[in-house]
Assembly symmetry: C2
Homo-oligomer: 269 residues x 2
């Protein structure tokens, strides 16, 4: 295989297999070439990925050495993307009764969702996360986007047990906004004891749901390494229960009557 | 930019932007080169994508001409992947009380989900679909995977209305398996009248849920161009209500007492 063809094949492989350790002989076979040619190809790809702000190739030497593609957005790229989202969300028509914000169109766009996933995955790249945990329903697409860039499985907690998931563990928690007691369940088979996890959700106000997930995860002896929420909103009535989290945007001073609010980048930087 | 660098940049662009019409001047700017060099690059990428069974570049000429990457799996690749899934699902420990099958681990793996999405997107590539529709919860990851390869938005119907989605349309339908009357709602803002849509779900037995979605979509004057379900299962008690669908695997003769079942590739070929 010629260099030009190899570069296309290898680029495709890395983009489809982020955070995957691959030994060089695999590529030697795949491209029917020599180890030194592959090594040169990897240098070129690494440099272009860095220039383009896509990420980098992490290479290790020795008997089990190989290469791993780490997706890593540049700060400038993130900044531009988040500012763009803030502009879109500022539209006063998005304010719904009760001070909620309509975001389903944004979170229904697979490209936007993937980009959000890429930003969280960039931030959490070095945490050696074993699984992404979310709660049904709205966090699911974001959780998969993050998971696909970190190459780890997604585990979904639910409000109600499902017959198709076998036996499960459940907890009760107090929802921050409605102050109602709610239930959250997680299938026993879905998470290994002692896993290092990252919690992903679309929205956080007082943090009741995230606290619920954390209590549920404690039953699995899981270690919460990171919490990522797409949008955080101020809750004037209640103190936030969760303090150590990463948010991409921050919504505050929502005034449904005046159709006004403030939307600024979150604490992700 | 040198050819080697350009090939990496262009490959990344196409993989991240499937089914997106892009005019050549965009690439001329991006790579700071000539139109004829870009044209040669596209020929090389097209050939490698075809050889690798990834898809192809569709080029159009004329004033608004350009290029579009169409993801298209080869049949051999699909065959191998589906056979692999069948083998995994055959494990008798997956049979749950009531004859259900545990699949959450498979559908929790982002790589598997993306591959399933790629297969459906390959099959439905020429249907000019405007949106993917699914119903919460389990179909959501698959719907996003298909949508990301077709470059269209995802619209999620729910069992209960959500305050964060504004006004909605709701219908009642009879669930095939439980024979209960259920509700399904879709936010009014979420789908334009007259859209051409593809329905995606993880599982279909008698087809009650899919029929429910179709009735709901009729309220939006939507045209259902395709239905894709990951797994279909025989329902001995009831005739199937949906006939025109694509399935990747087929489950039959589930015997929970004997822990036996048959799992074969679906009708996707």
């Amino acid at each position: 295989m010629k260099r030009s063809n190899r570069l296309i094949v290898l680029t495709q492989y890395f983009l489809e297999n982020p955070h995957t350790h691959t030994q060089l002989p695999y590529f030697v076979d795949l491209c029917n070439t020599t180890k030194s040619s592959i090594s040169e190809d990897l240098d070129i790809i690494h440099d272009v990925f860095e220039q383009q702000g896509i990420g980098y190739l992490h290479r290790t030497t020795g008997a089990s050495g190989g290469v791993r593609f780490i997706p890593k957005n540049t700060e400038g790229k993130n900044e531009k993307f988040i500012q763009g989202l803030c502009e879109i969300l500022k539209d006063p028509d998005r304010i719904l009764p009760g001070g909620y914000l309509y975001m389903s169109d944004l979170l229904g766009d697979p490209k936007t969702v993937r980009e959000i996933g890429r930003i969280f995955a960039s931030s959490f790249a070095s945490l050696e996360i074993d699984a992404i945990v979310t709660v049904a329903t709205k966090g699911i697409p974001l959780a998969y986007a993050v998971a696909s860039f970190l190459n780890v499985p997604v585990v979904i907690a639910r409000r109600d047990p499902q017959v198709t998931e076998g036996s499960s563990v459940s907890i009760n928690y107090v929802s921050g906004s409605s102050r109602k007691i709610q239930t959250m369940v997680l299938a026993k088979r879905s998470l290994k004891e002692g896993s290092k996890v990252c919690i992903i959700d679309d929205f956080m106000k007082a943090g009741g749901t995230i606290t619920g997930i954390m209590n549920l995860l404690a039953e699995f002896d899981a270690e919460v390494k990171a919490i990522g929420v797409f949008a955080e909103a101020d809750d004037e009535e209640e103190e936030r229960k969760v303090t150590n989290y990463t948010s991409l945007i921050k919504i505050s001073h929502v005034d449904p009557e005046e159709k006004k609010m403030e939307i600024i980048p979150g604490n992700y930087r």
